[in-house]
Symmetry: C2
Subunit: 437 residues, 2 copies
């Protein structure tokens, strides 16, 4: 049986067109993060499973992780997320380096998912995190990074919105108002997490299963139905829980002064899991009706280094996957066309005697910063223009018999169709001609 030419299930081959798109996504991510003073880091593709267990508990380990025992009896896994690696690296150096620590990374991650639209087994994820600065200012900056990133892709508030909440509010509602047990809390979090995808009947049924008191049930549903910060403020004041609002209010004032509120929408269903997050939490949502889903999520956390027995360092961060981002940009027609490569000039051999002269010119032009693609076998006149266009060349250069004898070259601008003859040794003129495309 012949070998399969397909990639491993749930993974992708990046042929040049797709790779150019990926490079574009990453370059905008990188440019944005660098413009805020964030520094790039990376870790290994393998980590010991202990690390993931300490951070995420057993569930992820059992169901989704690519783990195995190596030849030295170490139980290792291909990274399913970057945060544990980040925690390990920050734990190692945070005492020695100046705060705040502003780091970003674009690792590939693997999870054993059932492949479907927007969900693959190997994907890349931008991770941006800040440690050791005031939580409200950090949350503001991280949201500015998110907004600037989407703006740098050409998106605006008609394309996406950021649903936002604060874990201090959620915790106050649960622990002080509903007075639910830890086990009930866990189940309510799960319900909140998927509440938007449920019919009212299904939601009612799930809530009933938690066996809340009638009063708690009413309050929980009231909480779930809020859709603005003013509403939740009134709700919390009514129940004397204003103190839980303090951090979020400070953040919202800052957000208003710094003009990011048009992108924000209060949403009580944003909680992002029971553990880990401790302050502001958010998800970026696509506003397009055909693609209504989360593109990115993040928030403030305090106990990242706990698994290393290190002191608390407050952090805020977010993650953004390449698959959903690309879908978003395609849905809104924001993705530039990357069908062809880009080259400055194609040097095409019509006559075998022109090879060495063209090769020398190619080297000289490359030294001057140009992208030059040279044909290595002869191409006739009919085939050379389609070749140059397929390679995204702006100019084409060629030498027929006359040019070989006279040591000249014809250079044609493929945009203007203007054709000019140059002495081969007049590099300066050729360079200037190519610069004035």
């Amino acid at each position: 049986m012949a070998l399969s030419k397909e990639p491993y299930r749930g993974t992708r081959d990046f042929f040049p067109v797709d790779k150019r798109i990926r490079d574009y996504l990453f370059s905008v991510m990188e440019k944005t993060a660098l413009s805020f003073g964030y520094e790039s880091y990376d870790g290994p593709i393998l980590e010991e499973v202990e690390l993931y267990k300490a951070k995420s508990g057993e569930e992820l380990i059992n169901d989704q992780i690519y783990s195995f025992v190596d030849r030295g009896e170490r139980f290792v896994a291909i990274r399913p997320e970057m945060t544990p690696t980040l925690a390990r690296m920050v734990a190692k150096v945070h005492r020695e380096i100046q705060k705040p620590i502003r780091w970003f990374s674009i690792p590939n991650l693997m999870r054993y998912e059932k492949p479907q639209r927007g969900r693959v087994r190997e994907h890349w994820q931008l991770n941006v995190d800040i440690f050791g600065a005031s939580p409200s200012h950090s949350a503001l900056e991280i949201l500015q990074v998110v907004i600037t990133l989407f703006k740098n892709f050409g998106a605006n508030e008609s394309h996406f919105e950021i649903l936002i909440n604060d874990r201090n509010i959620v915790d106050a509602v649960f622990n002080q108002l509903l007075q639910t047990s830890a086990e009930q809390n866990y189940r309510l979090y799960k319900i909140i997490d998927k509440s938007k995808k449920l019919t009212p009947e299904a939601l009612e049924k799930l809530i009933n299963e938690v066996q809340l008191s009638e009063q708690a049930k009413i309050l929980f549903k009231e909480y779930l139905n809020m859709s603005s910060f003013d509403e939740v403020q009134t709700f919390l004041k009514t129940h004397r829980l204003e103190s839980s609002l303090q951090e979020f209010s400070t953040f919202l004032e800052l957000a208003k002064s710094c003009h990011i509120t048009p992108f924000l929408k209060y949403d009580p269903t944003i909680v992002r899991g029971l553990d880990y997050y401790t302050g502001v939490v958010f998800e970026v949502f696509d506003k397009h009706p055909d693609n209504r889903r989360a593109l990115s999520g993040g928030g403030a956390y305090a106990h990242l280094l706990k698994i290393f027995n290190e002191e608390s360092v407050p952090g805020v961060g977010f993650g953004l996957g390449d698959v959903t981002l690309r879908d978003f940009l395609e849905t809104h027609k924001l993705l530039p066309n990357f069908d062809v490569a880009s080259n400055d000039i194609a040097l095409v051999m019509n006559d075998p005697n022109s090879f060495v002269a063209l090769n020398q010119l190619a080297s000289s032009l490359r030294s001057n910063g140009f992208k030059v693609i040279q044909t290595l076998d002869c191409l006739n006149f009919k085939k050379m223009f389609p070749f140059a266009e397929k390679k995204g060349a702006l100019f084409i250069g060629f030498m027929g018999g006359d040019e070989v004898n006279q040591q000249t070259i014809q250079i044609k601008n493929l945009g203007t169709k203007e054709q000019t003859s140059f002495q081969l040794n007049d590099l300066e003129k050729i360079v200037n001609h190519l610069k004035n495309k």
Copy 2:
């Protein structure tokens, strides 16, 4: 027991300084490949083990590969090399796309190595390959890519040399001159591969173990001692094996016309394994006496697609690892300093009332393409200059009480020490000032 803060054995964490170095290495690789019209591709981190077995045989599989059975009973491996993925991808599309195919990639690869200097378990490797053009022109171009790459890193012929051979010559010596058996050939290849690291006695001993005829032994040693193309030419002519020289002679003529011979040195010990390569083979060697080793290797091959039952497509390619490259650049002091990040301006808050104004200015400057790092907590005058310098900022901007009242900002050029006051709302002036650094 606290979790370990160390990366998995044989792998590396890339803290920002190391990541900037890696980014620099990759950017020069990418720039060079693009300047020759090569297009970037990538494949998944996992492939089915069948693919590696088909290409490399059992040895690599058994000793060095990170393989395991996934939850769907597929036997998979973390990629130990890129060529099988490349072969799979080329096999899939080569009928549909115009030749030559010029592709490059910089994947991370994992091998179960015993960690030592220059050898780690996870490394990155530039792979550059051309398919479907004339072998001698392709070999010329690939060697030009290699040479240009090293030149773009600031290296010249005093730093590195390219040891070169042709498998047609080696095969003629073995099959027609020595008339050795397949099993003897295999053992002689192994001996040639490591001959440079052996003492004359150890070499003698290994050769004796192959049990060649006295005549074959003399010829083999004579072959091993050649050190120029002229010598091997005379040797082959003497033994009526000129026909094996044809392709290499054509290549060498081209190399001479295109001025790359100063980088090339004929070396009979370059063979690069028994299978796979079929024409020109080469290794790039560091000339520094303290770091005398191969930095890169490659050559011409014809049967890459055979494992997919596809027709032969001639190819030439090379690989270059990040660890040995970095060692090379450090040994020759060719690596720029990446100790600090680079930012255009640090906006430092001395007075809490300046935060919003600084934040708005930061956003405006970022929209104009500047890298701006803003402090989120107050820093006093004594601490703000070291902060800006550590972040590689060219300018520092700050607002004291007076500036907050007057809505002005002080901007100091950290190079010239010149300090200027600007109206906060005079963005154009500030932008122009920052541009004239």
